[in-house]
Point group: C2
Chain length 386, copies 2
């Protein structure tokens, strides 16, 4: 999907808009910050690559540029495996029809685990393992916070699933959980409590498996908030997180990062003004930003994003208040006493997004810069599809 | 972006999920319905291809498979021009840096008009016309409903822009407007009134140009609701509309179509159950559906979409209540007295989306079927990027 019209631009002030800007220095600092934290707690990180969906970005994020890693699609698994990352968890409950591609990856030398939370899935994995002669590694998903999928801690279903996997031909790897509700925590205390709840649920379930004579070498936990606010990871063998690499306004609103940590922005050009309304029109709409409005339910609603100048500094109270497919409307926040900044026709802005994963997925590539530089250092393709 | 894992599937019951299903018969009926209406009013249709973003779909939508058409990006313009559609309006206010690609299209035999609503844009278009020796065709955008961009009717700015374009080296083509507020009309009377308001504003502005001795051969109006509810198009030379081709739940909620007219759905597989909560988990999340929640502000909030069986029949009150990146949660609507349908692990559903344009843009291709058929007739690539 690389656009031949774009290859010659050497500067972010020249490249045709809209495009997706990535500050590589911020990415590297974000990764170093979480690695320091999990190193201190003595647990390895298994980054979730669904946020960046890029081989080049993954090389900066992963240990030795290789792994371990987490993916959200088998397409990601195939691309990252081909790029040398051979230690993967596919962290979406396995569908029966997807097992053939999992087996192809295993046969290709990729250590990929599936996750599941039902007897039906365990039977499908066992059946596919038997038919292929490949023991498919499987983690049992635990519902540590009521957020989404998973076996409820204490339910004997855990042991039943574990027995099918272990005794009937698959490879029971252990326990996995994701405290997705942590996105809604409103204080450091709440984040810390959620991290402990996630840890405790996963460890208890691993202990339950072991007490039943079943193996649980892996105890995998994580979300970006719980990964950052965890204080103790006793019994946990790895931590997963994804959006921490780029950060976004939802994570700022959740108190996990500062606006200045956000490595991602969308560059847009001013195409008009509706001066009597205080509106500035730009050539980036939801196609470039995504329709994600994750901050709408937070204390500060950032609408479709905070507007910055081309150095990345926020322009006061200017936000993207609304979007159509290829139009964005910039205006001051409701109640602002500031004056609308002077952004003449043809000038450029950078917009910080609500949700990095959603905004990345709207683009064919990252346009990569360093701190305090307008020079385009690289263009990194983004993986799409399933 | 065609996925080699998918090429061999012959049936929508076999192809790996999630994927984007298009019922070609519904598309053709939707197009015929609006064509009959605008033919009766004696005005040609200029379909907006930003919804389908597909050369193959465009061949069914356009007159003689060629044109005229409307586009939202220059990438669309270049792809559709190469496919033989040479009569285009690029319907986003022109940015100065994009004029070089417009000139390249004009030099390549494509009749492409730009749109604008400011003196600065008119001067940029005139300057680019002079420098290239190509008179760039331009339409002046009118703000008929306060929705987005455009010169306010009655503002003398219209004549000033017209004079610059006409006298200084560009080609003044006339007037364009889009009553985007029509999406929020709640009755047939309101739709009809909005259509008349759109028409009257555009025609009055064209008359004002002519009264000032300026040409206005084109008077272009349209949105999917106003196009369907217009009763008189006197003075209008063409009607634009896009989402009418596929329709979606927002258009159903606005009273423009029935649920059965929606030509688009996302096919997903059941990957789990949270039975105590009444949840069914599927392998389609916002990556497959988009984050668009256009029905949230309508009388009936359809959450992330209406769930249908594989024949396309809605499964009672079952909707996709929430999504994560690659997970969807199906449940009965709040307050429903129905019983959760029995959808075992591995079964498939079709989900009707809020907003066709947004859902299409999440996918690499349409998987095309006919009425009452599970056979995959074709796979049509979708255009991405700018």
């Amino acid at each position: 999907m690389k656009d031949k019209n774009q290859i010659s631009a050497a500067s972010i002030l020249e490249r045709e808009t809209p495009f997706l800007l990535l500050n590589r220095d911020k990415l590297e600092r974000n990764v170093a910050r979480l690695r320091e934290h999990t190193d201190r707690l003595g647990v390895p990180l298994r980054p979730h690559l669904k946020t960046v969906k890029s081989v080049e970005a993954a090389r900066l994020i992963l240990t030795n540029g290789k792994g371990p890693a987490t993916v959200s699609t088998l397409k990601e698994a195939e691309v990252f495996s081909a790029a040398g990352c051979k230690d993967l968890i596919y962290a979406v409950g396995i569908a029966p029809q997807k097992l053939a591609r999992v087996i192809a990856l295993l046969n290709n030398g990729t250590d990929i685990s599936v996750i599941l939370d039902s007897l039906e899935q365990a039977r499908a994995v066992v059946e596919a393992s038997r038919q292929s002669g490949v023991k498919i590694p499987a983690l049992i998903e635990i519902d540590s916070d009521g957020h989404r999928s998973g076996v409820v801690p204490g339910d004997n279903l855990l042991i039943e699933i574990g027995k099918i996997l272990h005794n009937e031909g698959a490879e029971l790897r252990g326990i996995i959980t994701h405290a997705g509700e942590s996105y809604h925590c409103k204080s450091m205390q709440a984040h810390q409590a959620m991290a402990e709840k996630e840890r405790a649920a996963a460890v208890a379930c691993a202990e339950a498996l072991r007490a039943a004579g079943l193996p649980s070498p892996v105890v995998s936990v994580g979300s970006t908030p719980t990964a950052h606010f965890s204080q103790d990871l006793t019994g946990v063998t790895e931590v997963r997180a994804g959006v921490f690499t780029l950060f976004d306004l939802v994570m700022t609103g959740a108190g996990v990062c500062h606006t200045a940590d956000i490595a991602l922005s969308v560059v847009a050009t001013v195409i008009g003004h509706q001066r009597q309304k205080g509106w500035i029109m730009v050539d980036a709409g939801w196609m470039a930003m995504s329709r994600d409005r994750g901050t709408a339910s937070q204390a500060v609603d950032q609408r479709y994003g905070i507007v910055c100048d081309m150095s990345g500094e926020p322009l006061g109270d200017l936000v993207m208040i609304d979007v159509n497919q290829e139009h964005g409307i910039l205006a001051l926040r409701a109640g602002s006493q500031q004056t609308l900044p002077d952004l003449p026709y043809g000038s450029r802005v950078r917009i910080l997004p609500n949700h990095a994963c959603a905004t990345v997925s709207q683009h064919a590539e990252f346009v990569v810069v360093r701190d305090r530089s307008e020079k385009i250092e690289a263009q990194w393709p983004i993986i799409h599809g399933w």
